[in-house]
Symmetry: D2
Subunit: 143 residues, 4 copies
């Protein structure tokens, strides 16, 4: 899928709508995320924090969970939206989560409340990455 | 909501259906989860594993993410379904994740492929628990 | 190891000392933990928070990491120390982390700044638990 | 600290020694990590897996926990060692964990059993990163 085929506005709208549902009483930093799949569907998710902070879920993780629950496994574009003046991109953990289901050239859009501020590819955000292929032959992965 | 009002069969069906979508190439242990909310809606999720194991999502986390994305925050029942002969319940991490949105007497059903094998309350599964109220007054939580 | 053989005071001192080192700028809730092994050694750890909250480490996880790095794998007692008036116990995630290396009757002490407030066994804190044995036969675990 | 001042061999030895202690019965992919601090100390850690995969700790997280427990908070170099023919680098989650305590130009060495295979800077591994400064002003961070 080339970039022109990606309806970034629809992704932004989906991410922005779900951002408003975030459970973020600890960071007070609500995040929304949308993933577009190879079948043309958009799945959205927001951050779900927990009193035990490490047990929270990032917005991207929530969006990916929605995608997998629907039986889809190929991400062709990602968009996140955060508050604040600064450019906020996916944390490293989410770059890895996306990597599991995306390609090197998958675009990742970083948006603020007013719209997209920057675009990256997965390879730009997570270069020289670790992935499923590193585990092949070690016993924990045989698919 | 009392136990009679809970449609456990509908929860089982939702969890069982989503279990089949799990991305579990590393553990080969697919799990499905369903949460029922105070508005009577069921949200389901499955485990989403990652080549970097700690970055995976448990089924319960996925179901909770779906619930929060829909703007709901009160869990009145939980059901999980796993394979295997043994009784499998929520891991400790998920007990804590559920705890964020549930009450002490919230029922948690543990099912196998054939149906529910056991029922617990949240208080039974996570007694003397840590929660949001422990953070009040320390600066990271002011809601 | 019976309870009399456990030097709870030494565990408390170790946990209390490391608690002061916690990196907790987000929750402002520093925690210290100590694990005692079957060889009689105590390993301590504190929480290490991260701007991306889910990537933080709980104190118990840090203590367990220190233990494993030293080539030890059997926990015979755990002690945590937190601030605040309320009794704070291990979060569910840490109950599961301890469970990997402990027995059902392993004691877990919950302390405040002034000393131990309550004692539990692992079975009390994480009843009907999920564990390594549930994965046997599914392909992700063959030890 | 310039690159010449970094004793990469000592870091490799520390990481390689602790790799042998890893608790990795699920992935069978043991990892060792070493962090060098601005005080010239090396802290090492290995991966600690859990039957509930998301509750495991990566090697880098373990090394950072050891550093923080010792009251140190500035990383000036990182080295990881893995098995396998392929170049394995830190997962995205660990890039974010290192980022909390490192600078853009902090070197990160990726080693195999025979020695260092590649070197990166933090900025190369986690460009356009999210970090503590993004949370300032939102309420969850006031340091």
């Amino acid at each position: 899928m080339n970039d022109e085929a990606i309806d970034v506005e629809a992704m932004f709208d989906a991410a922005r709508a779900v951002q408003a549902k975030a459970h973020a009483p600890y960071s007070r930093f609500p995040v929304g995320a949308a993933v577009l799949t190879d079948r043309g569907n958009i799945y959205a998710g927001c951050n779900v924090e927990n009193a035990s902070y490490p047990l929270g879920s990032c917005a991207e993780a929530s969006a990916i969970s929605a995608m997998v629950a629907a039986g889809e496994y190929r991400i062709v574009a990602v968009l996140t939206v955060c508050e604040g003046e600064q450019l906020s991109t996916c944390c490293g953990g989410c770059r890895q989560r996306i990597r599991e289901f995306a390609a090197l050239d998958t675009p990742v859009y970083a948006a603020g409340p007013e719209g997209v501020r920057a675009a990256f590819t997965m390879e730009q955000l997570l270069p020289a990455s670790f992935g499923p292929e590193h585990l092949v032959g070690f016993g924990g992965h045989r698919s």
